[in-house]
């Protein structure tokens, strides 16, 4: 079988206006869930991975791995840098290390991304159940 392309990247998390408005609407609203279960990628990197806008991809770090939808970044060029808005999907893979000052490392985390067209993006309930086994 052909080896799937994998890309080593730096993961950033942060705000988007969709995430901001979505969270005010309600954390289980469709708008919110759709705004935070995505990963913005540089178009050049998308080509390297062979994924299109909307393809499911798997983002993995030393702390976990999550399936989200790839989105073409409008903020390119930022080769080698991917962006997931703040939310449960991002927090499955961010670095909890606080370096003794209370603040985990939410930005600049080494990660790999790979296409995962066969794996589903989990909804809120399913993600909660698989991650925390409660709810």
């Amino acid at each position: 079988m052909e080896e799937k392309p994998k890309l080593k990247v730096t993961l950033l998390t942060g705000r988007t206006i969709e995430q901001g408005a979505g969270k005010e609407r309600g954390k289980s609203s469709k708008e919110y869930v759709e705004s935070v279960s995505v990963c913005y990628i540089d178009p050049e990197d998308m080509k390297k991975l062979g994924v299109k806008d909307g393809t499911n991809i798997q983002v993995s770090t030393a702390f976990g791995s999550v399936v989200v939808k790839a989105k073409k970044s409008l903020r390119a060029p930022h080769p080698g840098v991917v962006f997931i808005p703040y939310g449960l999907w991002a927090n499955v893979v961010v670095d909890p290390e606080t370096h003794g000052i209370g603040m985990p490392s939410f930005k600049g985390i080494p990660a790999t991304v790979e296409p995962a067209p066969d794996k589903p993006v989990l909804g809120l309930e399913e993600l909660l159940k698989t991650v925390f086994r409660k709810g």
Partner: protein, 485 residues
């Protein structure tokens, strides 16, 4: 239809206080002046995600209960715990926070607010280095140079630029809107010319764009009046409207800050690039900084969350100190939640410390890294949790959230958020700033009143009142335990 004017928006730390709401049959039907987040909150606050009844987890399911029962259960959990955490507080009023701190002292727990995962490092650094700051009003009227570093106001504080900085009309400084419009027109014109050229010569091979790794500063148009500099790892929306955009490589802000410090002190840099940015361009930006009359640097989580954390802020504060040798410069953190500054302030009044306060020894102790909530959770030390107006299960790294949901979990929140879904006791509350009045602190530490514009759903109380009832119940239980012993 009644219109309520001068309402404060309870969403982000900008606390815009010019919102106009139209009320019909006890509901908000129209919002004027607000941004997208503000509209979403004022129009959606009473939507399907609202919790209307207190709930308790029984056999793994959340079931409805009475307020009295929920308060009693919450008080029992807290009174029995050895080391509970009380977390959240940045989305509620100063009055509620004040009662929360009393409760933390009563139960000997750790109380922490959301600044621990946003500007906690900034606070630590400000305690070390000091901060030259001012009010947003002064910046609006006087600042002729604005820097946003590691923050994207366009998305996180959508009206900040329009109300307080580059695009606001100040007494001594004019709005930069017009030049921005001109700039966009010029850029669109340039793109049109380019595509026309392409069309004319379409038979020739289309020129290959230079490799993306090659640094291209955003085309800037020199102009009179206020200038805007954006420094960020991504070309955000805010970057697109800036006069200078400096794209720094991830985790390299510290180098860049120190490079600016050197340039401002007229030192030569013996490299071509710092943090991926050509030194020539940095010199141009440093020149703009030095030659302003009143500069303001706003910094966001891009500095506090990436490598270096509080040391990045040290360098930013020192940069502003250096700039003050040459001109007038101020610096301010971009605070996220509408009352996170208030949480820091009330914590400091009552305990002496701005966040991460531990009452387990009977007196307040403060040692971020030890008494901060993420660390307590990562060490699996807490044995109960009270979360007020916050959603840590979706905001904390997975490892920390995992321990949080293992403990008995009490949640006070108007919405069914991710943490609320995990709760063992869930008490719905009124939205402060919509259904309850109170006080909040803007990012520049100016206290601003929040209005009550509509009534909360029947039987739903504000956070402050719920906390008072839990506190009274905790005191009653402890008295009984004391008598029994």
């Amino acid at each position: 239809m009644p219109v309520v004017k001068a309402v404060t928006c309870p969403v982000c730390g900008s606390l815009c206080d010019d919102i106009e709401l139209t009320i019909e049959n006890g509901r908000i039907v129209k919002v004027k002046n607000g941004c997208a987040m503000c509209e979403a909150k004022f129009l959606g606050y009473c939507g399907e995600h609202r919790v209307l009844k207190p709930m308790i987890r029984k056999n793994g399911e959340l079931v409805k209960t009475t307020l009295k029962e929920a308060v009693r259960r919450a008080a029992e959990i807290l009174a029995e715990a050895n080391y509970p955490v009380l977390y959240g507080w940045s989305n509620t009023s100063c009055e509620a926070i004040s009662v929360g701190i009393e409760l933390a002292e009563e139960v000997g727990g750790v109380i922490d607010n959301t600044s621990v995962v946003c500007h906690g490092p900034s606070i630590l650094s400000i305690q070390d280095v000091g901060i030259p700051s001012c009010t947003l009003g002064q910046i609006r009227h006087r600042a002729d140079l604005i820097v946003y570093w590691g923050s994207n106001p366009w998305s996180a504080h959508p009206r900040h630029i329009e109300r307080y900085t580059a695009f606001s009309e100040g007494r001594f400084e004019k709005s930069a809107w017009r030049s921005y419009v001109n700039k966009v027109k010029a850029l669109v014109g340039r793109k049109k010319i380019q595509s026309a050229i392409k069309r004319l010569f379409f038979k020739k091979p289309v020129p290959v764009p230079p490799p993306v790794s090659e640094y291209k500063p955003y085309p800037s148009i020199t102009k009179e009046g206020r200038k805007l500099i954006v420094i960020d790892v991504r070309r955000t929306k805010s970057a697109e409207i800036a006069d200078y955009f400096v794209q720094v490589e991830p985790n390299k802000d510290y180098e860049l800050l120190q490079a600016f410090r050197a340039l401002i002190r007229d030192q030569e840099l013996e490299v071509d690039k710092v943090a991926g940015v050509p030194v020539e361009y940095l010199e141009e930006v440093a020149d703009a900084m030095v030659s302003c009359d009143f500069g303001a640097l706003f910094f966001g989580l891009g500095l506090t969350m990436s490598s270096g954390k509080l040391r990045n802020i040290d360098a930013a504060l020192s940069l502003v100190r250096d700039l003050n040798m040459r001109t007038k410069f101020v610096i301010m953190p971009m605070r996220g939640h509408f009352n996170v500054t208030g949480a820091n302030t009330v914590f400091t009044w009552q305990t002496g410390y701005p966040y991460a306060v531990d009452f387990s020894l009977g007196y307040p102790r403060y040692n971020p890294g030890e008494t901060s909530v993420v660390d307590v959770l990562l060490r699996k030390e807490s044995d109960a949790a009270l979360i007020v107006a916050s959603d840590p299960v979706s905001n904390f790294p997975r490892k920390a959230a995992e321990h949080l949901v293992e403990n008995p979990l009490i949640v006070i929140d108007p919405h069914m958020n991710v943490t609320a879904q995990m709760a063992d006791v869930l008490i719905p509350s009124a939205f402060v700033g919509i259904e309850a009045s109170g006080t909040a602190y803007r990012m520049d530490h100016v206290p601003i009143p929040l209005k009550k514009v509509v009534n909360p759903p029947r039987g739903i109380l504000p956070d402050e009142e719920i906390l008072r009832r839990i506190l009274a119940e905790v005191r009653r239980i402890k008295k009984k335990m004391g008598e029994a012993a």
